[in-house]
């Protein structure tokens, strides 16, 4: 027996509350608006914030794409897609260009997003100052007072210890010159994609009960020092061993037997699209 759920899982009251928080988040870019995060049928910390945003946004005319760490087929993406489709019946896609709502865990797609698309990012730890102070009241106060010396100090200590900034993901950013924001654990490679983006970017943290946003055409600057500027991960000289892409975020794969390193596109749908278009070209050539 399957129960017939309400459209988009939530009752309308829950959607209204999330929608109001989202509008406030858009009006105060980078500020974490608290919201009454609902219990979801997936565990907190596994994308419930993103899922709640998606469910509050989605309508019958939407096309949904969900990515988990660059892949459309991994567990988190598949289970979220199944839940949304089961409760809304909207079509799913793997193509970045066809989607109207893209929910993502830890990546921004390689293809630039358009103005009619909304990117929803799942955030495990929305507070960039949490390492500075464990108390929510204190971090809220630091944001209020524009006191981000702690965020700078974390980066400074990394430079002292390792000679460079070692943030693997979620390198903090200044949004609209006012709030320091954790851009969800996207690699540094994706930080510049948030700057003056054409699409609206919404970030949801379910466990931490926060919603925040980066509206389109908004300045997003990654924190960096004059002598140690912000840099993205470099894949110089490497290319995807499947499609040959170079200007993309690559995964490093090490063969356990031969210990050989190979690189592969992290954004699987982008890689497959490239392979398909290459194949189509080859077929056309050989036919001629």
């Amino acid at each position: 027996m399957k129960t017939k759920t309400h459209f988009a899982f939530f009752d309308e009251g829950s959607k209204k509350e999330i929608r109001r928080a989202t509008l406030k988040a858009v009006a105060i870019p980078g500020y974490q608006v608290p919201f009454a995060s609902r219990e979801m049928p997936i565990a907190r910390g596994w994308g419930t914030g993103g899922l709640q945003l998606t469910l509050s946004l989605i309508g019958k005319n939407d096309v949904l794409k969900v990515i988990d760490q660059g892949a459309d087929e991994s567990v988190n993406a598949v289970s979220i897609k199944k839940l949304v489709q089961h409760t809304t019946g909207v079509p799913l896609t793997e193509s970045t260009t066809d989607a109207t709502i893209i929910q993502s865990r830890h990546r921004i797609p390689e293809l630039p997003l358009k103005s009619d698309q909304i990117l929803v990012l799942q955030v495990p730890n929305p507070e960039p100052l949490r390492k500075v102070d464990a108390r929510e009241y204190m971090t809220k106060r630091m944001h209020a007072e524009d006191d981000y010396s702690g965020a700078w100090l974390i980066l400074f200590e990394q430079i002292m210890r390792y000679g460079k900034m070692t943030t693997g993901a979620a390198h903090p950013v200044y949004v609209n010159g006012r709030y320091v924001m954790a851009p969800s654990p996207i690699p540094r490679f994706d930080n510049p994609k948030m700057h003056q983006s054409e699409a609206l970017i919404l970030l949801g943290a379910g466990r931490e009960k926060k919603i925040y946003a980066v509206p389109p055409y908004t300045n997003v600057e990654s924190l960096g020092f004059e002598d140690y500027p912000f840099t993205v991960e470099s894949f110089e000289g490497e290319q995807c061993h499947l499609c040959g892409a170079t200007e993309v975020f690559l995964d490093e794969l090490i063969d356990p037997d031969s210990c050989e390193r190979t690189y592969q596109c992290n954004d699987t749908s982008h890689c497959i699209e490239r392979l398909n278009s290459k194949e189509a070209e080859e077929v056309e050539k050989s036919y001629a």
Partner: protein, 200 residues
């Protein structure tokens, strides 16, 4: 007027979100007009915004002619279960058409604009306009706007001066939704800077 609480209001929300994230961008709602909407004390777009955003957790205040605003307050309360509140406490302030410049200015000066710890505890204004257009009016710049946007809302420079005064201490401020009689809306959140380009 038959409004689907689930799907129609979802569409309205997406339009509001689109306009709020792109200040000055005009979006339009589907016309639902029939006999009931003709008897509404406000335009349909204002009413749809209220239906989309209000519930028992928020309060609202209406600025308008007494008879009209009482009728609208009763309608909104019965449809959404939200309650009326004085203008300095309300989460949403609806301003109707009419000769109300002074009342609007007064409410603008005292309405909630949040505090530095919780800037989201501020009033959102829903302003009834005759016709919004991008032809002339004020020039808007800021997040969500690529270069600049023109917006004509029908509200005069006193209104904009009062609004600018309340948004000066960013992140404190108020967010405005303008809703006109052609079922169009445009938003001006607190981040938007405006300059009067001509006599409005």
């Amino acid at each position: 007027m038959v409004i689907d609480q689930v799907h129609d209001l979802q569409k309205v929300y997406r339009k509001i979100l689109h306009s709020m994230s792109r200040p000055g961008t005009i979006t339009s709602f589907e016309q639902k007009a029939d006999s009931i909407s003709k008897s509404l004390p406000c335009n349909e777009a204002v009413f749809l915004c209220a239906l989309t955003l209000f519930d028992a957790e928020v309060t609202f205040h209406i600025i308008g002619e007494q008879e009209k605003s009482e009728r609208l307050a009763e309608l909104i309360s019965s449809y959404t279960m939200s309650n009326k509140a004085p203008h300095d406490q309300a989460d949403f302030i609806i301003a109707l058409q009419g000769n109300l410049t002074k009342e609007i200015e007064k409410a603008m000066n005292v309405c909630k604009s949040g505090d530095l710890i919780n800037p989201q505890n501020s009033a959102t204004w829903i302003l009834e306009s005759v016709l919004i257009s991008n032809q002339s009016g004020v020039t808007l710049t800021g997040p969500g706007i690529e270069r600049e946007a023109l917006l004509q809302t029908g509200y005069d420079e006193h209104f904009w001066m009062a609004r600018n005064l309340r948004t000066k201490e960013y992140p404190l401020g108020i967010d405005c939704i303008f809703a006109d009689f052609s079922n169009q809306i445009a938003c001006v959140p607190r981040t938007t800077k405006m300059v009067a380009t001509e006599v409005i």
